[in-house]
């Protein structure tokens, strides 16, 4: 057998790499080194990473190789490297959430999901770029500059987790962690031709995530294949006593569901309200083809209506800013993070310092949302805005309940368009918010969702995404449908979609 080349290693799936590690075809030190070399070659152009921890990743890899040689009983993903979104606390590694406010902050503890990842022996390659505090759909709101889409470096990679999605799409990591508050895992997956899963709310611990909107935030896997997502989901999922909203039940059998990959007899509901006007023709065409493939595999397609989804975006942009304005109040320049003294005021009070620090530390989008949330929660406006949004949340939950009596899963395009150009929507917040129109309802209701590639849009040759939503705690259904569709599409394409991504030369952008 010919030995695996570094390019073989970085283009194989995480599950294939895990098998190669077990078989002894490659060591974790070699695989981790191959990924670090790839990062060094292409990340100047992509800018998926805010911090790369070569020494730490190689040390973990060497330790896993040593334990494997000694015959230790290892986790199936042991030795497979991974990237972590910079909103997740990593002990000893800088964690900025894409904000100037946390520049240089090194957490003294690990998030629960990171502790599980480390215990399983996955080398952490580094921290990935994101919109500041996860507010955005393009990664352009990062204080450290945007991430570029590996399919077209002049375009956005989606957001807020554009760094994690671009890292796996550019073969800079086989696995990554994302977080999804309104679509920040699924929309970047769609935009970059990768796979992303938002588990059921409470299915994955939020302990150690820098909170944006606590009733919506959920961490999940960002990968190149559905099976890889299931393997990572199973590793990070499950009850955590440090998160009081964590579901006290075992993680659904997601890996078994991905292996089963069978939709015969399943009822697949097309949500009428997610897919009409405003959806790019090429995105719709790929969606319709995917649906036909699932029908051919024995699924029954039904149309369902969720009449209150048209209010989801409005409710979300009241609930999220309200919770964010409260959560981000912790950045007060006292215990960690940036402290800025107002100019010419050496005797400034704590409040003066807070005002100056937050003015200097937050970017435009964070300021917009914090002020919007402050408004929505202020006395006299609370009932009309935040109160009404909470009622809409109830109506959306009822829409899902009703729809799931007619269908086992619901489907839609993940995002209405393919990747737009960097800068195109930066100063038009409402246009930017529309990118999450199809992903937001799941967060409001707490239900799980997956996005996987449906193909390239005819207009621009850029990736489009197919979204599957399941009832709460039935995350396994996402993987059954996702793995089935992925296999059918790969047959049709003659390989994975990412095979068609342009070759990155590694030249730094001018």
């Amino acid at each position: 057998m010919t030995p695996l080349s570094p390019a073989d290693v970085t283009t194989m799936s995480a599950s294939a790499l895990a098998d190669a590690l077990v078989a002894g075809d490659v060591s974790s030190a070699e695989a981790t080194g191959a990924y670090l070399d790839r990062i060094a070659a292409v990340d100047g152009a992509v800018h998926a990473f805010l911090h790369v921890d070569a020494d730490g990743a190689l040390a973990t890899a060497a330790e896993v190789d040593r334990r494997r040689a000694a015959g230790a009983d290892l986790h199936p993903l042991a030795g497979v490297p991974l990237a972590v979104k910079d909103v997740v606390a990593t002990q000893g590694l800088p964690t900025t959430a894409g904000s100037r406010l946390l520049q240089g902050w090194v957490p003294p503890y690990d998030a629960t999901i990171v502790a599980r990842i480390r215990a399983a022996g996955l080398p952490v390659l580094g921290k990935t770029n994101m919109d500041e505090f996860a507010m955005g759909s393009s990664t352009e709101h990062s204080a450290y500059g945007p991430t570029h889409n590996p399919w077209d470096l002049d375009r956005i990679p989606g957001g807020s987790g554009g760094g994690s999605a671009a890292a796996v799409a550019a073969f800079e990591a086989p696995l990554a962690i994302g977080t999804d508050t309104g679509g920040s895992i699924r929309q970047p997956a769609a935009i970059t031709g990768t796979v992303g899963v938002k588990p059921t709310y409470g299915g994955v611990s939020r302990y150690g995530l820098i909170a944006l909107a606590s009733s919506l935030d959920q961490a999940g896997p960002v990968t190149r294949t559905v099976l890889d997502a299931a393997l990572l989901h199973e590793l990070i999922g499950g009850h955590d006593r440090l998160d009081s909203t964590s579901i006290n039940a075992p993680t659904p059998a997601v890996v078994a569901a991905a292996h089963r990959a069978d939709v015969a007899g399943m009822r697949i509901g097309v949500v009428r309200e997610l897919g009409g006007e405003g959806y790019q023709p090429g995105v719709r065409a790929r969606f319709d083809e995917a649906l036909a493939l699932l029908t051919g595999a024995g699924a029954e397609v039904v149309e369902v209506s969720c009449p209150h989804f048209e209010y989801a975006l409005a409710a979300y942009y009241l609930i999220l800013p309200s919770e964010a304005s409260s959560n981000l109040a912790r950045f007060d320049a006292m215990r960690y993070g940036l402290r800025v003294w107002p100019e010419g005021k050496p005797e400034a009070s704590a409040e003066d310092v807070m005002l100056a620090t937050r003015a200097a530390g937050f970017g435009d989008e964070a300021k917009r949302r914090i002020i919007l949330g402050t408004y929505a929660l202020s006395s006299g406006y609370y009932d009309a805005y935040y109160g009404s949004a909470q009622k809409v949340r109830t109506l959306i939950g009822r829409d899902f309940e009703q729809a799931f009596t007619h269908a086992d899963v619901l489907v839609s395009p993940t995002a209405p368009t393919t990747a737009f150009r960097l800068g195109e929507k930066l100063d038009d917040p409402l246009a930017m918010y529309l990118n999450d129109i199809a992903t937001i309802p799941a967060n409001l209701a707490g239900v799980p969702g997956i996005s996987l590639p449906s193909g390239l849009a005819d207009e621009d040759g850029l990736p489009a995404g197919f979204q599957v939503l399941a009832p709460a705690t039935h995350d396994d259904r996402l993987y059954r449908v996702g793995a089935t569709l992925e296999a059918l599409l790969a047959d049709r394409w003659g390989g994975p979609l990412l095979d068609r991504a342009p070759v990155l030369t590694g030249e730094v952008l001018a």
Binding site: P108, M334, L338, S349, T374, G387, L395, P429
Partner: protein, 91 residues
């Protein structure tokens, strides 16, 4: 807008107020749509899962050391967070 920024403890310049105020006006107008269907008989939802209080046994578990807790502080004085004066001149 300036008042809200003050409540949110963000010192906005006049230029920023001019830039952000019209954008916020458009967003507020758009999200006001929620009141169309928020009838009196619809109960509010604050949280997607029906969770109740979660308790643990009242036993000591390891936490951060003082050094760890202080490791990210902008200023430290004798193993304590050092902060600007709390009271303004008017107090």
């Amino acid at each position: 807008m300036a008042h809200l920024a003050r409540l949110a403890r963000i010192d906005l310049s006049d230029a920023e107020l001019d830039h952000l105020a019209p954008q916020l006006a458009v967003i507020v107008e758009s999200v006001a749509k929620v009141s169309e269907v928020a009838d009196d008989d619809v109960p509010p939802t604050s949280h997607p899962l029906p969770v109740t209080n979660v308790f643990r046994d009242d036993i000591v578990v390891p936490g951060l050391t003082a050094e760890e807790a202080l490791s990210g502080a902008p200023d430290v004085d004798r193993r304590r967070f050092s902060v600007p004066r709390i009271l303004g001149e008017e107090q």
